[in-house]
Symmetry: C2
Amino acid sequence: MFQQLSHAKVFQAYAEKIEFPTTPENLYDPIRYILSLSGKRIRPLLVLMGSTLFDEEKAALALPASTAIEYFHNFSLIHDDIMDKAPLRRGQPTVHQKWNDSVGILSGDALLVKAYEELAKCPAQQLGALLRLFNKTALEVCEGQQYDMDFELRNDVTADEYIDMIRLKTSVLLGCALQMGAIVAEADEAAQQLLYAFGMNLGIAFQLQDDLLDVYGDPETFGKQVGGDIISNKKTILFIKLKELVSTADAKELDYLLNSDIASEPTKVTKMKALYARYGIEDFAVALKEKYTATAYEKLEAIDVDESRKKTLFTLADALMHRVQ
Amino acid sequence: MFQQLSHAKVFQAYAEKIEFPTTPENLYDPIRYILSLSGKRIRPLLVLMGSTLFDEEKAALALPASTAIEYFHNFSLIHDDIMDKAPLRRGQPTVHQKWNDSVGILSGDALLVKAYEELAKCPAQQLGALLRLFNKTALEVCEGQQYDMDFELRNDVTADEYIDMIRLKTSVLLGCALQMGAIVAEADEAAQQLLYAFGMNLGIAFQLQDDLLDVYGDPETFGKQVGGDIISNKKTILFIKLKELVSTADAKELDYLLNSDIASEPTKVTKMKALYARYGIEDFAVALKEKYTATAYEKLEAIDVDESRKKTLFTLADALMHRVQ
C-alpha cells in the first residue's frame, strides 16, 4: 500500500499528525509557521527515496528520519535568516522579522531538538548510525554557514574554497538524507557511501547551476530577477572565478562596477556579463557543473541494485538539473 | 581505580581530550572559549554521581553523557546571553559580546550538536532512553527560557507560574543529569524517577534560595551585591508574591519604588525589605524553599540502595542548600 501513495503524500500525512504544544506560544507558533510555508520538501523525500531504492517495505520506517531532516533544514533557515538579516523567506516574512531575534533563536533551537526527537523514533538497531551521520552533517552545515559569512568579508576567496563552502552548507545534507534512508533500509556500507556521494555531488552541481541561471537563465522561467546576484555583488562561482582571473586593467572596471552607484542596474549586468565572456567564465562554470553532475550520475549507476529501482532518483536528478529525460 | 579519582578529575580528564577543529575559527574558538570559563561543572558531576549511586563500575560509561549535559548547558548559556543582552558571563565577556550575535547563534548551534555527538557515544543499549530523556529536557529548558522572557513583559505572573518557569529553565536539567547517570548504570525505572525528582526539587529549592540570599544573604559570603535583584526590579519569587498580596495603598508605594529614579539604591532596598516584612514574604519564600528541599531529600531517601551509597548526594545537597552536615 505504501508504494501506491506518492512519497510526498506519505510524508505529509505523517508530518501533519505531529502536534506541537500550544504554549509557550512564542516558542511553538514560529515553528508551526515556518513548517507551514510550503517549501519543496525535497530533503524528506530524498530520505524516503533512499530507503525505497533498497527496500520498499522499509520506507515507512524512514518517516521519522525524513521528518528529522525536514526539521533540521527549517531550523537552519530560521537561524540563517537572523544572521543574514533576511526579511523574506519563501515570499513570507522570516520568523525573526515577524516576531524578533530572540524568538527566532529560541524557536530554532527547539526545532533542532524536535529533529532529534524524531530521530529517536527511528529503529533502535540503526539509531546509533543515523545519529552519528546526522550529527556529522549538522556540524558541517554549521561550518558551511560560518564559511559563507567569513567569505562575505574576504576578497581572496578561491573557487575551490567556494565549492567546499557550498558542499558543507547545502550539499552534505542531501547526501545525508539519502544515506539515512539507505541506513533504515539496511543497505550495505558501500551502497550507502555511493548514494551519499550521489546526493552530495548533485547538490554541488545544483548550486552551481543556480549561480549560472541567475545570469544566463531564461527570464520567462527563472522565477527570480535575472542578474540579481550581479546587482547585489553576490560572491557566486562566476564572480569568484572572474576575480581569480581578471587582469590588472580589467580589475579597475570590475572595482568600478562593484562600488559605483552610477552604473544603472541593466548597464551593470551587461558590463559584468561582458567581463564574464572575456574570461570564459560561463564555460568554466558550466564545465564545473557538468563535472559534478557526471560524478553524481556515476555514483548512482555504480550502486548494486536493479537499474529499474534507480529510475525515480535519475528522474529527480534530471528534473533538478533541467536535463531532457 | 575509577572510584579513587574524584568525579571532577575524571570528567576533566575526559573532556580535555575532546578536540574541536581549528577551522572555521569563528565557529570553534567561541566553543573553546565558553568551555574554558571555569563554571562549577555541577551538571556533569551529577551524571557521574547518578551512575555511581547504583554501580561504580558504570561511571566511566557515563562520561559521554556527562559531557553532553555540560555542552548542552554551555550552549544554552551562549544563546540565553544573546537574548538577555548580557555582557558578562562568569566575569568574562559573553560570546556575542566578544565576537557578535551571529557567531553566538552559530557556535551555540554547533555546541548543541556536539552534545548530541557525545550522546551518540553512550552504550547502544541505553542510547534510545538517554536520547528521549535528553530531548524532552532540552525542549523544557527552551520552554523555560521562553516563559522567563514572556514574564518580563507581564505584570500578573503568579508564584505558581514562577515556580514552573524555574523548574523548566533550570531544574529539569539537574534531574535529567542524575537520571542519565542512573540509566547508564541500568537502575530500574522507579529508582530513576526518584533520582530525577530529587534533582528537580533540589534545583527549585536552590533557585528559591538564590532569590532569598540576594535580599537576606550575608554580604560577607554572598559574592554578589546584596539587594541587586531589588535594584534591578528583577521578578523573583519575593517580588512576585508581594505583587500578589499587596494592598491598594501599598501598591502605590511599590509602583513608586519600581519606577522612580529618586529613591537612592540603599533606600530602595530598605523600603522594599520593609514591604516584604509587612507581607511575610521572607517567611513565605523560606517555607517554599524548605518544602522543595524536604521533597528532594525524601525522594533520595526512598531510593532502594544502601544508605551509605547516598552519602555523596546528601553531602552535595547539604552544601548547595547551606545545611549543617
